[in-house]
């Protein structure tokens, strides 16, 4: 689908209108509920953010060493990002390798078959239960999750390359290594990028969810403390901040790979 500049501007404007509408709806709902303890309006949440983003002495009495958003964000996103990097790198290598080498396929198949693309989302929290709530356990969890989803998609993307394309490359004299580099890899790229983005968003969500189970730092930890205090506004402020950071990262990933995907139009 072709998009002209004016259409793109319209898309941005309408997107902004959507957020304005969400804001208005939320404001209206909060007005209707008329209880900031149950449903604080967006301005209340924003105020919470301004008040506590830099830190909150109150939390420090509860044993939170660093209560500012920045440090906890860095911890949560950093851990999730590290797991994502390791897991995705291994996943791409294993998935593409398993599509080309039978022995590798035989080794990875049991893991990928059992955990699949979707079941791993279910199994991941269970894994956490077993791995424990320490930082290494959570890193392992995110890494394993990213590994499985990325490997499954990378493998099927490499296998879905139309045979004629690879045969064509072979009749041009490209050997197996050259075909992998020049044909298999670029053909699988769009699917791999899509799953990398999904894995990043879900990885952050998994990491934060895992942090509810009681580590010392992380956005999830702050959320669970605020929930115990019954502070809805602060829970929303923390969640939305983390969501916005995830959107930012996603946009960065998308922008970084855009040139490599331009051929798709």
């Amino acid at each position: 689908m072709r998009t002209t500049p004016s259409l793109r501007i319209a898309a941005i404007l309408w997107g902004a209108a959507g957020f304005a509408g969400l804001w208005a709806l939320w404001e209206l709902a909060a007005f209707g509920v008329a209880n900031d303890a149950v449903l604080p309006g967006p301005r209340v949440v924003l105020w919470q953010f301004e008040r506590h983003a830099g830190g909150d002495r109150g939390l420090e009495f509860l044993g939170v060493e660093h209560s500012s958003y920045g440090i906890n964000l860095a911890w949560t996103v950093g851990t999730a990002g590290l797991g994502w990097l390791i897991g995705s790198a291994l996943g791409v290598a294993a998935g593409l390798g398993a599509a080309r080498r039978q022995w590798l396929r035989d080794v990875t198949e049991p893991v990928l078959f059992v955990f699949g693309a979707v079941p791993v989302l279910v199994v991941a929290p269970l894994l956490l239960v077993w791995l424990g709530a320490g930082p290494v356990g959570k890193l392992t969890l995110v890494t394993f999750y990213c590994f499985v989803v990325v490997a499954v998609v990378a493998q099927s993307a490499a296998l879905n390359l139309p045979p004629a394309v690879e045969e064509y490359a072979a009749t041009l004299g490209l050997d197996a290594a050259a075909r992998f580099r020049a044909v298999v890899l670029p053909a699988a790229l769009p699917a791999i990028v899509a799953v990398l983005r999904l894995a990043l968003a879900t990885g952050i969500s998994l990491q934060a969810g895992a942090e509810l189970l009681g580590p010392r730092v992380g956005m999830g930890r702050l959320i669970s403390l605020r929930a115990q205090q019954g502070n809805v506004g602060e829970v929303l402020s923390l969640s939305i901040t983390l969501g916005l950071v995830a959107v930012l990262l996603d946009t960065a990933v998308r922008a970084a790979v855009a040139p490599a995907l331009r051929w798709q139009g």
Partner: protein, 251 residues
Amino acid sequence: MSRPTGLEVRSLTVTYGSGPKAVTPLHDLDLDVPRGQFLCVLGPSGQGKSTLLRCLAGLLAPTAGTITALGEPVTGPSATRGMVFQQDAIPGWLRVADNVALGPRNRRLPESQWRPRVDHFVEAVGLRGRERAWPRELSGGMRKRVAVAAVFANDPDILLMDEPFASLDHLTRQGLHRTLLTLWQETGKTIVFVTHDVDEALALADRVVVIAGGGVRADAVVPFPRPRTDDLRMDATANALRTNLLHHLGV
């Protein structure tokens, strides 16, 4: 001048599957293609034309028999035998010029060696000015031109073409015929061109073989001088040849 053999096919048999479901489209087929010849392989659908071509390309191992190309036994795909496929096989992620350079670049030949050839064949197939276009931005006929330029730029000795223009409309196809003949005359490559269209074969070939029932059913020289025009449809000799070929095709 002696013409050394380009392709030598001896007792070629291909069987797909086994047991009661086995299919044997080619059985004990013999064929010689002299170097530099433009051969058209005609045959009804499902009679093993693609199978033969895939064997010649080294993409499919024969069940029995041997294939020799330029004196060497064929045991796998090679840059000396280029192929143009019926379906779109050119990678969509390479711009036109990069697509044409796909073979030599990835065989890691020095750029100085292939760059002029790539430019030349991009120009020769009429894609000058579209070098930076993506395949999706091109018409079906233009994508075929990319595929043709790409094999020529890779400089194989033998070109294998499997109904390459079957999906194109008449006018586009004629344009591609002219381009292909020009390139053939310029480079003197051996071409094996598969088609199920008698008129396409008569317009292009030095020689036509009909494949049916597992082997070569007819083998005819096409004596008309080039350039051949649509007037060929009125020519009595041409009509006799056409009728004869159609007869062998079972029409």
